[in-house]
């Protein structure tokens, strides 16, 4: 597929949108600055549950988001009505908001930096979705369903496979043009086992996560090969002892590190939260602006980057949705807090450095500060060394539940599977493993970080935030990590 070309067509994104762009330019009002973000998205989903093929779905979305700035005011309008009249109406509605936004502005829009550079980005796809027919994909999902039926106590099982292709074009009144094309693959399977009053679920194959790329990404997720093991673990967990209530060492696998990074590093470092924008809905942050540059967030082993350049990670891109070029930056280096997750607008408001993370979930929402790819950098311990360093502790894998306070500080998280570790060796399964901590101190107990061999790329397609609500995909990559002296508990 050519860079910038739309799925299923030979036309480039710019060619596809040209009639809308031409129409917009005839109706856009005379303002200090305008930008036009044009987004087209197509999502196809296949699912087989309990051996039954669910109706396939194909969701298309297409619309434009208009930003007008004039004399310190800033207003938006988004529309799926892509006729000249529809674009005219959208511009009229945005103009109506310009005056109130100028008179009551939280900050002076004239001070905001504007996009300066044109460019493009396209996801790398080795094996495209079309390389496998619908019949072949459904047969693969059926095969996984059969593998998941590992015993009579499996009461529910399902496998799914989705693709999401997105084209985003950003134009500005200064002549900047940014074309970005994203291809995401969203696989997963899960089995639920039940015996008496005990029910356990295990998931795998990328369940709850996604990647940029094509069908070549499935193998890394263990899709379909890990299905049998997942079902057998669900059954084994039925008879496993409860996770002990104890204070011990904790070994988190990358599939749970994802959630740990997301909730207790990502959200607290969002600069718009720190500036108070989210206090009515998503919450605030225990991090304050004066902490950057000096606050010890974690042990010296903690190195966290904003990294938009990991090819297969979900939120890799060249520019954010306001046109800021994206570059790898350390948010936390050697345990010390360096910079927040703040886009150009938040950086200007807060007087802090930031990253290119102004993102919108679709054409119908304005960009706000979001996580993108937020990664914990690998250390130098092999997985065996991580286990060997633990005298008594619990390994936890695959997130099952999470709870964290408004300021993203006090938390308790649960996992699907636990495994005891004694005297440096992995022992038996434990069910319903949970742990609790406080973000401000939890990361200081980071005692060992896995090397590149345990480094895995995860993420979630459903990070929620913002008013009106925005659900967006974010990437988190991490090795397995050891934390000392953590409050651990089970389900009793």
């Amino acid at each position: 597929m050519q860079p910038g070309s739309l799925p299923g067509t030979d036309r480039t994104m710019k060619q596809e949108w040209q009639p809308v762009i031409d129409a917009f330019k005839t109706v856009v009002p005379n303002v200090d600055f305008w930008s036009l973000r044009l987004v087209s998205e197509e999502t196809e989903t296949l699912r087989v549950r309990a051996g039954v093929v669910q109706p396939p779905s194909l969701a298309q979305s297409r619309g434009v988001h208009i930003t007008l700035m004039d004399r310190g005011g800033c207003a938006y309008a988004a529309t799926s009505a892509l006729t000249r009249e529809g674009l005219q109406a959208a511009c009229d509605q945005a103009l109506l908001w310009l005056e109130p936004s100028r008179r009551h502005a939280l900050f002076d829009a004239q001070q905001l930096p504007r996009p300066q550079r044109s460019g493009s980005y396209t996801s790398t796809v080795t094996v495209p979705w079309e390389a496998s027919s619908l019949t072949e994909k459904l047969e693969l999902l059926q095969e996984i369903n059969r593998m998941l039926q590992a015993g009579d106590c499996i009461v529910d099982r399902q496998a799914c496979l989705s693709r999401c292709d997105t084209g985003a074009l950003l134009l500005s009144s200064d002549g900047v043009t940014i074309e970005q094309t994203f291809h995401h693959i969203i696989p997963g399977y899960a089995a639920v086992a039940n015996r008496g009053s005990q029910t356990q679920m295990r998931s795998g194959g990328g369940w709850g996560s996604a990647r940029q790329g094509g069908l070549e990404q499935l193998e890394d997720f263990g899709f379909p090969d890990g299905a049998r093991q997942v079902a057998e673990e669900a059954i084994a967990l039925l008879e496993a002892p409860e996770c002990p209530e104890t204070r011990a060492d904790l070994l988190l696998m990358p599939s749970q590190m994802m959630l740990q990074i997301h909730e207790s590093i990502g959200h607290p470092l969002e600069l718009d939260r720190i500036l108070g924008d989210e206090r009515n809905y998503a919450g605030t942050s225990f991090v304050s602006a004066d902490m950057f540059g000096s606050y010890r967030y974690g042990s010296p082993l903690l190195n966290v980057t904003f990294d938009p350049g990991v090819t297969q990670e979900m939120a890799s891109y060249a520019f954010d949705d306001e046109g800021t070029p994206a570059e790898r930056s350390f948010l936390i280096r050697d345990g010390i807090l360096q910079r927040p997750l703040g886009g150009a607008a938040s950086q200007t408001r807060g007087g802090l450095p930031g990253v290119a993370n102004a993102r919108a979930c679709s054409w119908n929402r304005p960009a706000i500060d979001r996580m993108a790819n937020l990664n914990l950098e690998p250390g130098d311990s092999s997985f065996d060394e991580l286990v060997g360093s633990i005298e008594y502790g619990v390994l936890m894998d695959a997130n099952r539940s999470w709870s964290i306070d408004d300021s993203r500080n006090k938390f308790q998280f649960g996992c699907e599977l636990g495994r005891l570790i004694k005297d440096g060796e992995l022992r038996g399964l434990v069910r319903n493993p949970n742990y609790r901590g406080i973000s401000a101190t939890f990361w200081r107990s980071l005692a060992a970080v896995g090397d590149k061999r345990s480094f895995e790329v995860w993420g979630t397609p459903s990070c929620g935030k913002g008013e009106p609500n925005q659900m967006i995909h974010v990437g988190h990559a991490s090795p397995a990590c050891v934390f000392r002296n953590v409050d651990i508990f089970g389900g009793d």
Binding site: P55, P56, Q60, A77, R279, D406, P468
Partner: protein
């Protein structure tokens, strides 16, 4: 832009939502319910024998303003219309959804392209043992009355009432519409104008009082009264008098139960 009068079966109103058809002579416009009906009739008329088509329409024309420190953080307008198509044949079902761009010819062409795609897909699917859809025909139409103020005017009154206070939240208001049609002849339409003001008042040390109001008609007197009550609660929190606050909330709730049978939506958080 011209709004067309639409005589509904239940209520009479002027539809604010307007659709433009660039393939028709200038000035020719169709109200959205009529547009959806025409789209549905045309698509259903083109079905092959044995096919059943289910169509769902979703539309939104709304304004929003996000507030922080009683100032506008973001404000704008959203106009979004989309159509879902479910094609059923020989005990098999497949679905798709698409945006409506406002040109009837273009929207019909895109819907037909999707239907062709679903037709190609259906024979490749096994029969769906859970397939279930309504076969009795029940038509309905409801068009609510637009009793909302201009969005900017509503915001002015809110922010004036909260002058000097740390008000955070979102005001959103406008029209939401839903439509359903199927090839068995059923037609449903529902459109209402409503607002939702979800807000909180913030004080020292992370203390806050959460509140909100929503409805179909805007009463400018409601917010100042609620704001005054919230400010009183925030003062109690800031003075560390949580016991008095709990008592006050209990009293308010009991009063509301006695007078209206419902408890007001208000809670305090720290």
């Amino acid at each position: 832009m011209i709004s067309l009068s639409f005589r509904g079966g239940i209520n009479t109103r002027v539809l604010r939502l307007t659709i433009w058809n660039c393939d028709q002579p200038a000035g020719s416009e169709l109200a959205m319910e009529t547009y959806f009906r025409e789209l549905s009739d045309t698509l259903c008329a083109g079905l092959a024998d044995g096919e059943v088509l289910l169509l769902n329409y979703q539309g939104e024309t709304s304004d929003f303003a996000r507030l922080n420190h009683n100032r506008i953080r973001q404000a704008g307008h959203v106009h979004h219309q989309a159509l879902e198509l479910d094609l059923v044949r020989d005990g098999r079902e497949s679905g798709a959804s698409m945006p409506l761009c406002g040109s009837l010819d273009a929207d019909l062409a895109q819907a037909r392209t999707l239907l062709d795609r679903l037709r190609t897909q259906l024979p490749l699917l096994p029969g769906d043992p859970h397939l279930n859809y309504a076969t009795e025909v029940h038509d309905s139409i409801h068009c609510g009355e637009d009793r909302l103020p201009e969005p900017g005017a509503a915001l002015e009154t809110l922010m004036e009432a909260a002058r000097g206070l740390d008000l955070v939240g979102i005001w959103a208001g406008g029209e939401q519409s839903r439509g359903f049609a199927n090839s068995l002849g059923q037609r449903n339409w529902h459109a209402v104008d409503s607002f939702n003001f979800d807000w909180s008042l913030h004080g020292e040390g992370g203390r806050a009082v959460k509140s909100g109001s929503a409805g179909f008609a805007w009463d400018p007197a409601v917010f100042p009264a609620r704001l005054e009550a919230a400010a009183g609660e925030l003062a109690l929190l800031e003075n560390g008098d949580e016991k008095a606050l709990v008592l006050q909330n209990l009293t308010d709730a009991l009063d509301a139960l006695e007078t209206s049978g419902s408890v007001p939506a208000s809670k305090s958080a720290q």
